[in-house]
């Protein structure tokens, strides 16, 4: 049975609330993560949230390339080629 599609925008909002107590409303695929006011430690916790929920591991060398929410979506899609990932 195919796994349900991943909604990165919704998961991102949930992660921001959980790890940084931050409510994000105007989030888009081209939103630059550093512009959200989260420090790099919180961003790493956020990445960790995605990994745990989706049971994937983003390689360390890919982490520094993720600048936007869309970049995160693309990275996750590469790690889960058989599952739809949208943002």
């Amino acid at each position: 049975m195919a796994q349900p599609p991943v909604n990165v925008l919704e998961m991102f909002k949930q992660a921001a609330l959980e790890v940084d107590n931050r409510t994000l409303t105007d989030l888009k695929a081209d939103t630059v993560i550093s512009s959200l006011g989260m420090d790099s430690v919180a961003v790493m916790e956020l990445v960790s949230f995605f990994e745990e929920k989706l049971n994937v591991r983003i390689p360390d060398e890919e982490l520094s390339k993720i600048r936007t929410v869309g970049d995160l979506r693309d990275t996750l899609q590469k790690l889960m080629p058989d599952r739809a990932v949208a943002a």
């Binding site: 790099s40 916790e45 960790s48 990994e51 982490l63 520094s64």
Partner: protein, 294 residues
């Protein structure tokens, strides 16, 4: 540009007397080498090799990696409080040794030691212009100050490290060797507490700098130096930081009374984070013997 002079003061200028309480007698603030074999290097209380002996072993290895003899002129980039300069002067009896550091407190300590044939200056490696070229370079855990976390995120690490090796090449004679030691970022933790602790150490204890990755160093040495030898020493640094924390804790009352609760609590957290980081492979250590490409 990595750590500024103000950043360096945060990391190293708490007080020379404070660091003297928990480092070895020569004040090496870098990984010692215990080399006690796999049984002794298991986690737990380290074996019988003392912190003092481990630091002498480290200096011996890096001197050998840099091919230092009594005829050598040696440059120490990021010389700390002068432990390596003292070793070069009193054990290797080198012709001359010069150290550069960004810390006023460290330079004052080196001058206080009044070592034969040793000079030191407060100077950034970016501004250093030696009048003579050196036979050998030793640099122990200074590269951690070259690149800031933001520069690393912007992909500027290799270019900055390559510039460091370019300068080292400029400052040396043909045929020179370079004994290098660096901490390494192995992999990013996923445990929330460990992420927060490592981030805190990066931003609060060593502001302005970030530890390099091994592949960045390997990419950056070219075209200036050839890697002749490379050895990683993760558990040696685990044991070193274990000893530092042990000595810090034994001086807890004095440290709290003299420098305040925050200093003790911060350094206890920092050293505990280091012990955990080396145990869990978040960080490691590497020693390199580099030969100048002429």
């Amino acid at each position: 540009m990595g750590s500024t002079k103000a950043d360096i003061a945060v990391s190293y200028d708490v007080s020379n007397e404070f660091f003297r309480l928990w480092l070895d007698e020569r004040m090496n603030y870098t990984c010692g080498i215990f080399d006690e074999g796999p049984e002794r290097m298991k986690l737990g209380v380290p074996g019988p090799v003392s912190l003092e002996e481990s630091q002498l072993r480290k200096l011996r290895i890096l001197s050998d990696y840099a091919h230092v003899t009594s005829a050598s002129t040696v440059l120490d980039i990021g010389c700390g409080w002068g432990a390596d300069l003292e070793y070069q002067a009193t054990t290797n009896h080198v012709k001359a040794a010069h150290g550069i550091t960004l810390s006023e407190a460290q330079c004052a300590e080196i001058r206080r030691r009044a070592l034969p044939n040793v000079t030191a200056s407060v100077c950034s490696y970016l501004d250093y212009r030696p009048e003579v070229k050196f036979d050998a370079i030793i640099s122990i855990c200074m590269m951690e100050h070259i690149v800031s976390p933001q520069e690393a995120r912007d992909g500027k690490s290799i270019a900055a490290y390559r510039n460091y090796f370019r300068l080292a090449h400029e400052w040396t004679k043909p045929g020179a060797y370079f004994g290098l030691q660096t901490i390494l970022r192995n992999f990013v933790p996923r445990d929330r507490k460990d992420i927060q602790d490592l981030g805190w150490v990066t931003y609060e204890i060593f502001p302005g700098g970030i530890v390099p990755r091994l592949e960045e160093i390997i990419a950056a040495v070219n075209p200036y130096f050839e890697v002749l030898e490379l050895k990683t020493r993760r558990l040696d640094y685990r044991n070193t930081t274990w000893h530092w924390r042990d000595r810090l804790r034994k001086n807890e009352a004095h440290i709290r009374a003299t420098w305040g609760d925050k200093v003790f609590d911060d350094y206890e957290r920092y050293l505990s984070t280091c012990v955990t980081g080396f145990e869990k492979h978040y960080t490691s250590l590497a020693q390199y013997s580099l030969k100048r490409i002429d």
